[in-house]
């Protein structure tokens, strides 16, 4: 039974990772980051249940808080950039070059 969750967690993580690499707009990239975090959280809870140890579940609580902070900051940075450039596509905002 628990192996289903394992595959689900792996699927979510892979989906998120691929999304962060291949997506071109910043909002989607942030969402994919959250997807990655969700996958990992599920994985940790799963392991924590199967081993019966609670300390890793604590880690998940911290992860939820931290990833919420990360997204908040990511969004505010996107807004800061959008004010200057009126775009959220990664291809259009490359200014720093070699």
């Amino acid at each position: 039974m628990s192996s289903i969750y394992y595959y689900l967690a792996g699927f979510l993580f892979t989906l998120g990772l691929l999304g962060t690499i291949f997506k071109k707009d910043l909002i989607s990239i942030l969402l994919c980051l959250e997807l990655m975090m969700g996958g990992v959280s599920l994985l940790i809870i799963l392991f924590s249940r199967s081993t019966g140890l609670l300390d890793a579940q604590l880690l998940v609580f911290f992860m939820i808080i931290v990833s919420a902070c990360e997204v908040a900051i990511g969004l505010s940075l996107i807004i800061a950039l959008h004010r200057k450039k009126q775009t959220i596509y990664t291809d259009d905002i490359k200014i720093i070059t070699e």
């Binding site: 998120g16 990772l17 994985l43 950039l81």
Partner: protein, 488 residues
């Protein structure tokens, strides 16, 4: 069951002071009007707070090493010494931010607040003893760094730097957690000591899962210390952020990451095991790559800040080479390298920042003929450049010599040769600045306001250790040798 949570607070005073300082600064900031120019009480408060932290750390240094807060944080000589170096770096960066024009006047308090916050994260990371504190340390460092990189909010490049940093950081944190979750899943503990106990007795099936997991764990730290292949963000962020921020990034997060890596390596891989061979092999390859890529890419740069960014990547590679030798000698040489790296980087960034404030950019040409206008400053810059290259009798030479000798003692000849060759490559771009300053005619006769008497004195006082550590290095070496890791 009743736990006394505050039983160990006595050993945790430096961090408590920093937290109080951060909160205090936020409250103090609110008492000023928005367009108030001279916020000197904030500067004074930061100074006092950081010096108090330094004092508390010195007091901690003499106490005995112990694990506090249910074994999740370790206070030992090693972490305390690294923390002292980080506090000094923060002090210098905050002083630089006071007169730098690269940070808006109204945001200087914010810089101080975030610098203190990042310092708290660095403290947590340097003394982390389980995966939870380790992760929290990395994230406290990262989240504030993202904002700090984007501090110049009207500048597109700064915002882009912050965003790039945030996205790379998020991905690497995700990878690291994925690795951590598997380590927990296989070994059933998040305590470093618990993991270390299991590592020599792994079956081959467990090894097959754990080897990739440890590589992913390295991704999290490798990103913080900007080692190849996780270095892509570093030059862009260093170039895009304001110069005081770059100075800060080159020191505090990097040293905190190195400290965490030393602790992980020294705790997990004491006994010989297949895991240890894999991890050391990984470190050797990454160290060689980091040095080479950093140095070779630095050659073609036009901006001094970007050049210094690549040079700091290569210095991270050299420190990694010291970590490959996980014994007392290796750790001692890395700590010594960290101390010298602090002073060398600070002087180089101070002078670059002042020149950049005057001319609005930091191309190599802005340095031409500096010796005819500010002979003292040009000599200091030259000294630091020689030291970064690793020429005797300066501190950089002793630091590199120690790492190479510990590599040779442990029979890592190939890495020692790569390190030696890299020093030759780095001479090209470091000495390019010296050549420009001395042999080229000056561009203009303008006065550079940043080189006032006080600032020149500060720069000189930071260059003195580069001389002193190069000649009388035994004292600091003994101090670094006393920085023992406490493993529990």
């Amino acid at each position: 069951m009743h736990l006394n949570y505050l039983a160990n607070i006595g050993r945790y005073i430096p961090e408590v002071i920093l937290v109080l300082l951060m909160v205090g600064l936020i409250i103090l900031e609110a008492t000023y009007k928005e367009d108030e120019k001279n916020r000197k009480y904030i500067f004074i408060a930061t100074l006092v707070g950081l010096v108090a932290t330094l004092g508390a750390l010195i007091a901690n240094m003499s106490g005995k090493a112990e694990a506090i807060f249910s074994n999740s944080i370790i206070i030992d000589q090693f972490s305390t010494l690294i923390k002292m170096v980080m506090v000094l770096g923060t002090l210098a960066a905050i002083y630089l931010s006071r007169f730098s024009k690269d940070i808006y006047e109204s945001l200087k308090t914010e810089f101080a607040i975030m610098a203190v916050g990042i310092l708290i994260g660095g403290f947590l990371l340097a003394s982390a003893n389980n995966m939870l504190t380790f992760y929290l340390g990395i994230e406290t460092l990262s989240i504030l760094s993202y904002v700090m990189a984007a501090l110049k909010k009207n500048d597109q490049r700064s915002s882009e730097a912050g965003l790039k940093y945030a996205l790379y950081g998020g991905i690497s944190a995700g990878l690291m957690l994925f690795g951590m979750s598997h380590i927990f899943g296989v070994l059933g503990t998040i305590q470093f000591a618990g993991v270390a106990k299991m590592i020599p007795t792994l079956t081959s099936a467990q090894l097959a899962i754990l080897m990739p997991s440890f590589v992913l764990l390295f991704a999290g730290i490798g990103y913080k210390i900007a080692s190849v292949p996780f270095h892509m963000w570093s030059p862009d962020v260093y170039e895009g952020s304001p110069t005081p921020v770059t100075t800060f990034f080159a020191i505090v997060p990097k040293l905190a990451g190195i400290a965490a890596l030393i602790r992980i390596t020294a705790v997990f891989f004491v006994v010989d095991s297949p895991m240890k061979i894999g991890w050391i092999g990984l470190l050797i390859v990454i160290s060689a790559l980091t040095m080479t890529v950093g140095n070779v890419t630095a050659i073609g740069q036009k901006s001094v800040k970007r050049m210094l960014a690549y040079s700091s990547i290569s210095h991270a590679g050299i420190m990694l080479a010291g970590i490959v030798v996980i014994n007392d000698v290796g750790i001692r040489s890395v700590v010594f390298y960290g101390i010298t790296y602090l002073f060398m980087t600070l002087v180089a960034f101070y002078i670059t920042s002042i020149v950049q404030d005057k001319y609005g950019n930091d191309h190599f040409d802005r340095f031409s003929g500096l010796i005819y206008r500010y002979p003292f400053m040009a000599v200091m810059m030259a000294v630091v450049m020689f030291s970064l290259t690793g020429l005797p009798p300066l501190a950089g030479f002793v630091a590199k010599y120690n790492i190479i000798s510990s590599l040779i003692n442990s029979k890592n000849y190939a890495l020692a040769i790569v390190l030696g060759l890299n020093s030759v490559v780095s001479a090209y771009y470091y000495l390019k600045i010296v050549r420009l300053m001395t042999l080229k005619p000056q561009e203009s006769n303008e006065e550079i306001e940043g080189f006032g008497f006080l600032n020149q004195m500060v720069i000189v006082s930071m260059t003195v250790p580069v001389f002193v550590l190069g000649i009388f290095w035994e004292t600091i070496m003994n101090l670094a040798a006393g920085a023992k890791l406490f493993i529990q």
